[in-house]
């Protein structure tokens, strides 16, 4: 048997995403850092994060906000 505990449901996003930027930073020069961010990171970001992720995030957020708004109206 498994039981759902309140402690199971504590978000750990920050810990899982805890990045290693500092460690990389100390190993590369500013120039290399910038070069790779512009040529690799930014290119993928333009297509995936800005176009897909952000649009979906906004869509979900609007949907949830609208539902909450409608529920509040019904309760009034």
């Amino acid at each position: 048997m498994i039981t759902i505990k309140a402690s199971d449901l504590v978000p750990v996003k920050d810990q899982v995403l805890n990045q290693v930027l500092d460690q990389v930073w100390f190993q590369v020069s500013d120039q290399v850092w910038t070069q790779v961010s512009i040529q690799v990171w930014d290119q993928v970001q333009d297509q995936v994060a800005n176009q897909i992720s952000n649009q979906v995030w906004n869509q979900v957020w609007n949907q949830v906000r609208d539902q909450i708004h409608n529920n509040n109206k019904k309760q009034k």
């Binding site: 048997m1 995403l17 190993q27 040529q39 990171w41 176009q51």
Partner: protein, 329 residues
Amino acid sequence: MPKLEELTPEQIAKFGFYVQKWLKIGLDTTECDFDKAIAAAKKCYALKGLPEPTKFLGPFNNPFESSIATSVLSKWVDKSFENNTALNEALMKEVASIIENKRFDFPSDLANQIYGNHEYWLSYYDYFRTECAITGCEITDGLMDMAIVCGWWTPLAGACVFQHRPEQIHFDDRRRIHNTEGPAIKFRGSPYNNVYALHGIRVKENVIRRNYTAADIDKESNVEVRRVMIDLYGQEKYLLDSNSKVVHADDFGTLYSKEQSNDEILMMVKVINATPEPDGSFKDYFVRVDPKAYNGLKTAHAAVASTWRNKDGSMVFGSPNDYDPDIQT
């Protein structure tokens, strides 16, 4: 250890590979591989020194349904199930029921979700680790594994909630999200997360369904959205349906203008195609013109003259009077 001061030509030549690799991951539309997502999640937790979770749930169709799932879980605290499979089946059934009955009284869980295959920044660590032997990047291994097999997901202290990736993503020829016939980003399952867009501009579903009027266009406050709504509606139809003003009419055609808030005046000239149709009739057609041409268009003659341009975009005719065709084509 000395800093890496310069990349070699070979390392630079690898940029494109990582861009393509992570674009492919980010734009993947296949279903979540549940078993591999579980393994990737366990690796994520282990690499960050977190206790291994015991409950693995999903995959849900989209971020909206996943938000419902975590909300249901919070209402099921202290509830017991035979095993993870039984819990997951009950949860998926409950989420499906909520969707079917539109019982959407749940808080957003978006802030707790990780973007799985959309975690574009992993490309950076992948590059540095593989091409430059930078140490420390290994801590992203679990997230990289997850990006390859899963959409967005929610890591909780004792549970992980996984999602499928979008089912379809449509672009225009400039790689902007775009679909004139349906969602530009379509998810599996319920339609609430579907994104409708034209040339990268997000619009409401009714626009794509062509379920709007010229008055709806006039009410739209966002200039970019209004422009794409006009394009889809048809510029000439919009002019005719929206109380546009006839500025001038002469033998060359009819010049229309339509004021638009926070945007340039829409000005078009209606001309008659001098070449007859196969049935012998003559068709009208509309040409959009630059309202600022010839220091402000005032006549249909000037409007038609302004449509003649050189390859560099400059006017063919220095003055509208220079345009006096003997033969129309």
